[in-house]
């Protein structure tokens, strides 16, 4: 026995605050809380699965052949479809992209190159503000801006409202993508005597292109599902229309109108339309994700 063993009993009493009951209590709490976290995940995932499954079930039941290509029929008359809503959604969303994409990409280029100037900071601030505006407010804004002066609802106003909603999404994703392009690429181009414009169009944008496309896809997915702004702008139309100056039907608006109606077959059609819409929206999201994943695999680390 050496000197050290005589000191050992001290060591024991020093450490006696820990063991036994308290430790068991702490470990029990640990297990319970971690299990609750796992339960939380279940609570989060279950609604999604429920929605998907229920929409699938109800939607398929109500889906008739030609649903996508025929016009709505009067209440109670069997058959009929949502062709006008599909066309309307395509037109309004398309118009929105046409307006929001160029402006958004340009603004993003500004934000990426002039981030620390007063205007650059204001732009970041402004983008956040627009992103936070509820879509119904956007609808009222466009109502006051375009519908009132024109005196009628229109597909055009609907497209404009969607453009405003898409704008911050496109700006943010494009800006992130542009920031990820190595600065050396830009400097190399400028050093070769290319103007800023050519550098951006021919070097930066192509490098960031797939990211920009992803951003536009996500923006489209969001805009395609917006019903609230349509209540004040496009307003819906039971007939087929291609004119920008007339009201037009859109998928989410149609779902809303059918869902709160008192008619059984309209409600069934609401499910079928919802199936179409959710397939479109989720499909775009999955596609955007897949594009990101593919890009990372191809290039290595272009994105987070």
């Amino acid at each position: 026995m050496s000197e050290t063993t005589r000191r050992r009993p001290q060591a024991f009493t020093r450490g006696n605050g820990a063991g036994g009951f308290r430790l068991a209590w702490r470990k029990g709490t640990n297990t319970v809380m971690l299990a609750l976290c796992a339960l939380a995940v279940v609570a989060g995932v279950v609604p999604l699965l429920w929605i998907l499954w229920y929409t699938l079930r109800q939607g398929i039941a109500a889906l008739t052949p030609g649903f996508l290509t025929s016009m709505p029929t009067p209440v109670g008359v069997p058959g009929g479809g949502i062709f006008n809503s599909i066309v309307g959604s395509a037109i309004t969303v398309g118009l929105g992209v046409l307006i929001a994409a160029p402006v958004g990409v340009m603004a993003a280029m500004f934000a990426a190159t002039r981030a620390n100037t007063p205007l650059g900071l204001a732009l970041r601030f402004g983008t956040d503000v627009i992103a936070g505006v509820p879509s119904i407010i956007m609808g009222i804004f466009v109502y006051a801006l375009i519908v009132l002066p024109q005196g009628h609802f229109s597909a055009f106003s609907g497209g404009v409202a969607l453009a405003f909603i898409m704008l911050p999404i496109i700006i943010r994703t494009t800006e992130e993508m542009l920031k990820l392009v190595p600065g050396s690429l830009r400097e190399a181009s400028l050093a070769l005597g290319a103007t800023e414009w050519r550098t951006s169009m021919n070097v930066l944008l192509p490098a960031a292109l797939s990211g920009v496309v992803t951003g536009v896809m996500l923006a489209v997915a969001r805009a395609a599902g917006e019903a609230a702004p349509m209540l004040f702008t496009a307003f819906g139309n039971p007939f087929l229309s291609f004119k920008l100056s007339e009201p037009i039907a859109t998928l989410p608006h149609t779902i809303f109108v059918y869902a709160i109606s008192p008619y059984e077959d309209w409600r069934a059609k609401a499910w079928a339309t919802a199936l179409v819409l959710i397939a479109l929206v989720l499909g775009l999201n999955v596609l955007a994700r897949g594009l990101t994943w593919w890009r990372v695999r191809k290039v290595g680390s272009v994105t987070r």
């Binding site: 000191r7 020093r14 450490g15 036994g20």
Partner: protein, 283 residues
């Protein structure tokens, strides 16, 4: 003796200490006994077949060129290797007769008993007092007893005089050397038996380093210290026993090639590779 110590424990210390109090056993001279320990990270074998005895109440230094697994070996001693996904530790690490690698061992208790100080000081963004009090609070210490524990720990870490008037200030407001001593005080506060130090001075200036080396010598009175260092002069100054680690020929796996008292390692090493390293021919 308090009743709860009669409850069957899997902590190796308690069981042997209980026996020792009854006069049924004696603490070995070697605090930690590492036998044939290998650590795998998924397919990669970081260290292989390490056998090493860590003596009680002494400073043991683990030296060697970078990348040879010194930190891995150190971290296996308090099972911090468990935190790396895909990590597997084989062999046995005996502490007072019990293998801490066994699955029946309570990891939480092990980590309290075998404390660790890291390369970069990592105080919590809390006050100095709360940093040191964190561990004891987990044990249920409150009030006067807590205050005394915190004061004792800060004194043992040679930091009390510098911070006794600013205990409520953030731990992050201290200098690097002070933060490291704060981390040492924090570790001391849970009253460990062993203190593992992973290159504790590499992020500090020479003055702070010296203070911590002095601290290490004082602490051996009550604790067993194991330090990983890439600074050979430090190992020579501070340690009683030195273990030399190196990569196995032609592999990326490290192992202990020689271990003995520090004087021998630095003047008459048995292994040619140790000699080459300590005389600065490489590494």
């Amino acid at each position: 003796m308090p009743p709860w110590t009669e409850i069957p424990q899997v902590s190796p210390f308690e069981s042997l200490a209980v026996k020792e109090m009854r006069g049924e056993a004696s603490i070995q001279e070697s605090r930690i006994s590492i036998q044939d320990v290998s650590v795998h990270y998924r397919k990669f074998r970081a260290i292989a077949d390490v056998t090493l005895d860590i003596p009680t109440n002494k400073v043991t230094a683990i030296i060697g060129p970078s990348g040879c697994g010194k930190s891995t070996l150190l971290r296996s001693m308090n099972r911090m290797t468990d935190l790396v996904p895909g990590a597997r530790v084989t062999g046995s690490i005996q502490i007072d007769g019990q293998d801490i690698l066994a699955s029946s061992i309570d990891v939480v208790d092990i980590r309290r008993r075998i404390g660790m100080v890291f390369q970069r000081p990592n105080p919590f963004p809390k006050s100095i007092f709360d940093n040191v009090a964190y561990g004891p609070r987990l044990q249920g210490l409150r009030g006067q007893a807590l205050q005394e524990r915190v004061e004792r720990s800060l004194k043992s870490a040679a930091l009390w005089d510098e911070v006794k008037d600013i205990l409520q200030q953030s731990g992050l407001a201290l200098s690097g050397g002070q933060q490291q001593r704060l981390c040492i005080a924090r570790t001391l506060a849970v009253e460990p038996e062993v203190i593992l130090m992973d290159e504790p001075c590499s992020a500090l200036d020479p003055v702070a380093t010296l203070k911590i080396e002095e601290l290490m010598r004082t602490l051996t009175a009550d604790y067993t210290i194991v330090i990983v260092t890439h600074n050979m002069q430090q190992a020579a100054r501070v340690s009683d026993v030195t273990a030399m680690m190196m990569l196995i020929e032609g592999q990326k796996t490290g192992t202990v090639i020689e271990a003995s008292d520090t004087k021998t390692i630095f003047t008459k090493p048995k292994d040619k590779r140790t000699e080459a390293y300590v005389t600065g021919r490489f590494g």
